[in-house]
């Protein structure tokens, strides 16, 4: 078993160890925060010249999920590209890889804060938000406006001494980890995330999914003595 199956507002879903979300009934594959073109954007702005392979690495990993699941539709929950320019000027290698992945299936790009005008010139449709049953798909969860499935925050938690990407499953909000290779993380218990998911489950991506409870009281499980795993403090 590499995934973790759970229900969210009438949807039977599977959190994948890759950080993608799978909706088996409709054969939809959802990913958040691919941040394609990130290294180039940093270079363009005079920053460090990072290894320019993260888009390939990200799409390679996405390709493995596509090969394993054969989805009918792929949904990028915003920040698919690191900025609008990265989307417009995407490298031929990225274009080719995207074309291959999208071949024979739908692709839905939601807009994010990094790519507000939605990617143009790539296969698929672009939307601001989209509905999946009773649930809204959007880039960033809005408190009091759930239920929704979103990305944006790149949640992580520290488990057995290692930082792991993590899904957060609350009553109203389901938040995906970032799928992109060069993405940092926000601790799952940061106030911004606590506000959205005060209680529920954290599904951490290791070689398998590790499920951990998120408790309502802020001093919850992480204050108990003698545990080896702790929330990330980054």
């Amino acid at each position: 078993m590499t995934g973790w199956r759970f229900d969210f507002h009438g949807l039977r879903l599977e959190a994948r160890v890759s950080g993608a979300l799978w909706w088996p009934e409709g054969r939809w594959l959802l990913v958040a925060d691919l941040h394609l073109g990130k290294s180039e954007r940093m270079a363009r702005r005079g920053g460090p010249l990072l290894p320019p392979y993260e888009s390939i690495a990200t799409l390679d990993r996405l390709g493995q999920e596509v090969a394993a699941l054969d989805p009918l539709r792929i949904v990028s929950l915003g920040d698919g590209f690191d900025d609008d320019l990265a989307g417009r000027q995407a490298d031929p290698i990225i274009r080719h890889a995207l074309g291959r992945l999208a071949h024979g299936r739908d692709w839905l790009w939601l807009c994010g804060n990094h790519d507000p005008s939605c990617p143009e010139g790539h296969p698929g449709e672009a939307e601001a938000v989209f509905h999946l049953g009773a649930v809204l798909l959007r880039h960033e969860a809005v408190s009091g406006d759930g239920p929704d499935i979103s990305g944006h925050f790149h949640p992580v938690l520290r488990l057995a001494g290692e930082r792991k990407r993590t899904f957060l499953v609350g009553d109203q909000h389901l938040i995906l980890p970032a799928f992109g290779a060069y993405t940092g993380g926000l601790p799952y218990d940061d106030p911004a995330l606590r506000r959205l998911v005060p209680e529920g489950l954290a599904l951490a991506c290791g070689r398998q999914i590790h499920a951990l409870p998120i408790r309502g009281d802020a001093s919850g499980w992480n204050t108990k003595k003698g545990r080896q795993w702790r929330p990330g403090l980054r």
Binding site: W4, R5, F6, S39, E40, A43, R44, G46, G47, P48, L49, L50, P51, P52, Y53, E54, I56, A57, D91, F153, H154, R158, L159, A160, G161, E162, R163, A178, A181, Y182, T183, G184, G185, L186, L201, A204, G206, R207, Q208, H210, A211, L212, P213, R215, S219, W221, N222, T223, K224, K225, R227, Q228, W229, R230, G232, L233, R234
Partner: protein, 799 residues
């Protein structure tokens, strides 16, 4: 040049006679390296020629003498010390320091109106040279004084300094350079290190009388294992009582904290004893230093943070707690006691456990024989070169050929191949990737035959990344409440293991964690709690090769055991009855059952880093052979592995070729390599170092350098940064060279199957620092933790 009468008079008025080495430096025409013990008037010797020249003519508009020291504190101290002769002699010269603490206004003024004597650090010098005004500031430079060169030469800071020196020699031909160093094993090699085009002559000062050095006799014998040395507290206190001022050196920060606490628990007379280590807040360290200088402290417990620097004339005793690991460092530490020239330094050693007792005896023999150790210096590393190329570009356009010839005039880079230089230049310009992705966004562009920054605004970012010191990320600790006093810092990884309510030890006091905000831990005092011990996982110093050989020779020769304490003698004699003693030329190993598991002990005497690497490699082989290794432990002396099934014949696993193959394909993915990569990537400018205060608390702020490492390994395995990482790891943390050295010097192998624990292995079983085997095991641990938690929360059924 001879000593002018006014200077001669000044010496006489102090009641001093100039030392021969001071006069020798004055008379010297070219570059010199002065090797003198502490207290030999080394610094004055270095400045004397400058003062004499400046008395004759001052150089307005350009620095005359540049002084570089490894410590900021030292520049301030030197400034104060120089002020006196300068005033006495009526010299009208300005002496200023320029360090990370120097304010913006003074920095700006120094650029337009530089002082005659400028005191600085390697990092600040690199920064000054990265400004376009550098040729003006240093164009008239006459002299450079490099203080504590032996310490600088041990790290990349020295390599960077030598590149800066090469630049200074270009800016001001005819410059004279004086290196000042404590006693080192190979003065000629240090002289080559600092030399430019012309060779550097070594001046050896009289080393002074032999030190008064011995073991500190204790009522209780040293314990079998551990590193605390607490058994000797009463004797240490007694020694402190009898001396005027004592420095107690301890090898690690955590041990210093614990020893300090234990010392105070028995300090009934309230002798004023302070604590000094690199993780304490700057304010606390400054307080201790000031109290020390004022003679208010009877003792200070210190780590390597006091290895260098400020002369406290009053120190008359040095106590080394724990094995010194390295004879040269022991000698340099001993020199801290009694800064009166020509008086013997007094030092006492406290071994922390039985193995260390043998090591201390061997080290004392080496000190008496004046047989210093030291690993030969490798060629200058390329990550430093990459940084220097970028900084050169910040100062202005450059020609590649002339920069290459400038670099090869620096000691550490004399053998630099053009191809390596070109690879570094390509890295600095384009990132050096096989996928030429950044042709439009190159950092450096070639215009009219000269390399320059594509975007001059990038200079600001590059200057922020100056320096070669890369420490683990630290989190500051301060007392709770508005304006709570800063206490120091702890490693981020340790901070991550803390939860509100946890107690830990810092600055000699137990505190309780209240909250963590914005990379600051807020704490309240909690004197009576049982504290956690902060982890400072910096590179642990391994026992030097030469000292290891001495230890092995001592153990292997029962005729020499008379020099050991009686309990240690009995211990070794028991070992020779039950098993056998290790000896030079023999690699001894044992297998025995204990507590339901099989244990394999290998007496390699190759230092802890090499034996840790060997542990990682051997457990991997054992995993493949189905022996079920569960963990291992490495010390400077031995490696202990425990497993489900016994290792019957280690010989095939210990073949160099097999180990080397394992190193290549497996260690590359190891955390040690990733840590090495991070350091290399920061120095080379591939990733930006995290500046305190600039760090955002947002998700985009940082992503792990491990991701970059994995990406490069997968998509660009021949990249320069991976090559540099492999070279560096081979020397430092991985230390594979010493595994090969161990195998080469031990042609005989002997493996004994024992029925029970051997005497030599027994202390290893209670030693701390066990390494569990990772990989699948780690994942299993996470699984168990998560399930326990879900069950505790009553949530096991929900999915």
């Amino acid at each position: 040049m001879t000593l002018p009468a006014a200077f001669q008079d000044w010496f006489s008025r102090q009641g001093w006679e100039p030392h021969p080495h001071q006069l020798a430096l004055l008379a010297a025409e070219g570059d010199r390296l002065l090797i003198a013990p502490t207290g030999g008037g080394k610094t004055l010797a270095g400045f004397l020629p400058s003062l004499v020249e400046l008395r004759q003519a001052t150089t307005r508009g350009s620095v005359h003498t540049l002084y570089v020291s490894p410590l900021k504190a030292l520049t301030a101290d030197i400034g104060r010390n120089l002020a006196r002769p300068v005033a006495d002699l009526g010299l009208s010269i300005r002496i200023e320091d320029r360090t990370g603490d120097t304010g913006q206004t003074q920095r700006r003024r120094q650029r337009t109106d530089p002082p005659e004597i400028l005191l600085t650090t390697p990092e600040s010098l690199a920064l000054m040279l990265s400004y376009p005004e550098a040729p003006k500031i240093f164009g008239g430079l006459r002299r450079v004084v490099l203080d504590e060169l032996h310490a600088l030469a041990e790290s990349k800071r020295g390599d960077q300094l030598m590149l800066c020196l090469a630049r200074l020699r270009r800016l001001s031909p005819g410059l004279r350079v004086t290196g000042l160093s404590a006693t080192v094993e190979d003065p000629a090699s240090l002289a080559r290190f600092m030399a430019g085009e012309a060779p550097v002559e070594v001046i050896l000062a009289d080393p002074g009388p032999d030190p008064d050095i011995a073991m500190l006799p204790t009522a209780r014998p040293a314990p079998w294992a551990g590193g605390g040395g607490h058994y000797a507290i009463p004797e240490v206190l007694n020694a402190v009582r009898q001396a005027r001022t004592t420095i107690i050196f301890i090898n690690t920060r955590a041990q210093a904290e614990l020893f300090f606490q234990a010392l105070w628990a028995e300090n009934d007379e309230n002798l004023p004893i302070g604590l000094h280590h690199g993780s304490l807040a700057r304010e606390s360290r400054a307080r201790v230093e000031a109290a020390m200088a004022a003679g208010e402290l009877r003792a200070v417990v210190a780590t390597g943070s006091l290895d260098l620097g400020i002369d406290w004339g009053a120190v008359d005793l040095v106590i080394q707690v724990g094995a010194p690991k390295n004879v040269k460092r022991l000698v340099q530490r001993i020199g801290r006691a009694n800064h009166r020239y020509n008086a013997p330094s007094k030092a006492r050693i406290v071994p922390a456990n039985r193995f260390e007792q043998i090591e201390c005896v061997a080290a004392l023999e080496a000190v008496r024989a004046r047989d210093l150790d030291g690993e030969p210096r490798g060629p200058g590393p390329l990550d430093v070169l990459c940084q220097h190329i970028l900084l050169t570009a910040c100062a202005g356009p450059f020609d590649a050929d002339s920069l290459y010839s400038e670099f090869t005039s620096a000691g550490p880079y004399r053998g630099l191949a053009r191809a390596d230089f070109d690879a570094c230049l390509d890295f600095a310009a384009t990132g050096g990737y096989a996928l030429r992705a950044y042709d439009r966004w190159q950092r450096l562009m070639l215009r009219d035959g000269l390399w320059q920054l594509r975007d001059p605004r990038a200079a600001r970012l590059l200057r922020m990344n100056i320096g070669t010191i890369t420490e683990a990320e630290m989190v500051r600790v301060r007392l709770r409440g508005r304006g709570g006093a800063p206490l120091g810092e702890v490693e981020e990884a340790f901070a991550a293991s803390l939860s509100p309510g946890d107690s830990f030890l810092i600055g000699g006091r137990v505190v309780r964690m209240d909250a963590m905000r914005e990379m600051v831990i807020e704490v309240s005092p909690q004197p009576n709690a049982q504290p956690k011990i902060a982890v400072y996982s910096g590179v642990k110093l391994a026992m030097s090769t030469q000292l290891a050989h001495r230890v092995l020779a001592l153990i292997g020769d029962p005729a020499r055991h008379a020099s050991l304490p009686v309990q240690t003698r009995d211990w070794l004699s028991l070992q020779s009855q039950i098993s056998r003693l290790p000896e030079p030329g023999l690699l001894l190993s044992e297998s025995f059952p204990y507590a339901g598991l099989w244990h394999f002990a290998l007496y390699g005497f190759a230092g802890r880093n090499a034996l840790q690497t060997l542990g990682l490699l051997l457990t991997r082989e054992m995993e493949q052979e189905g022996l079920g290794p569960l963990g291992f432990l490495s010390t400077d002396y031995a490696l202990l592995i425990w497993s489900m099934d016994p290792l019957l014949d280690p010989a095939p696993l210990l073949e160099t070729a097999r180990l080397r193959a394992g190193l290549g394909d497996w260690l590359a993915g190891n955390a040690v390599m990733k840590r090495t990569f991070r350091n290399v990537a920061i120095v080379a400018g591939l990733i930006q170092r995290n500046m305190p205060g600039l760090r955002k608390s947002g998700r985009q702020a940082t992503f792990s350098s491990d991701i970059l490492y994995d990406t490069l390994r997968k998509y660009d395995p021949d990249h320069l940064m991976l090559r540099v990482t492999a070279e560096e790891a081979g020397r430092g943390l991985v230390d594979f060279g010493r595994i090969e050295e161990m195998l080469a010097r031990s042609p005989r192998r002997e493996h004994l199957m024992l029925e029970r624990v051997s005497p030599l292995a027994a202390p290893l079983l209670i030693e701390v620092g066990k390494v569990p085997i990772r990989g699948e095991g780690r994942e299993r641990l996470a699984r168990i933790e998560a399930e326990t938690l879900m069950r505790a929360a009553g949530l096991m059924e929900i999915a």
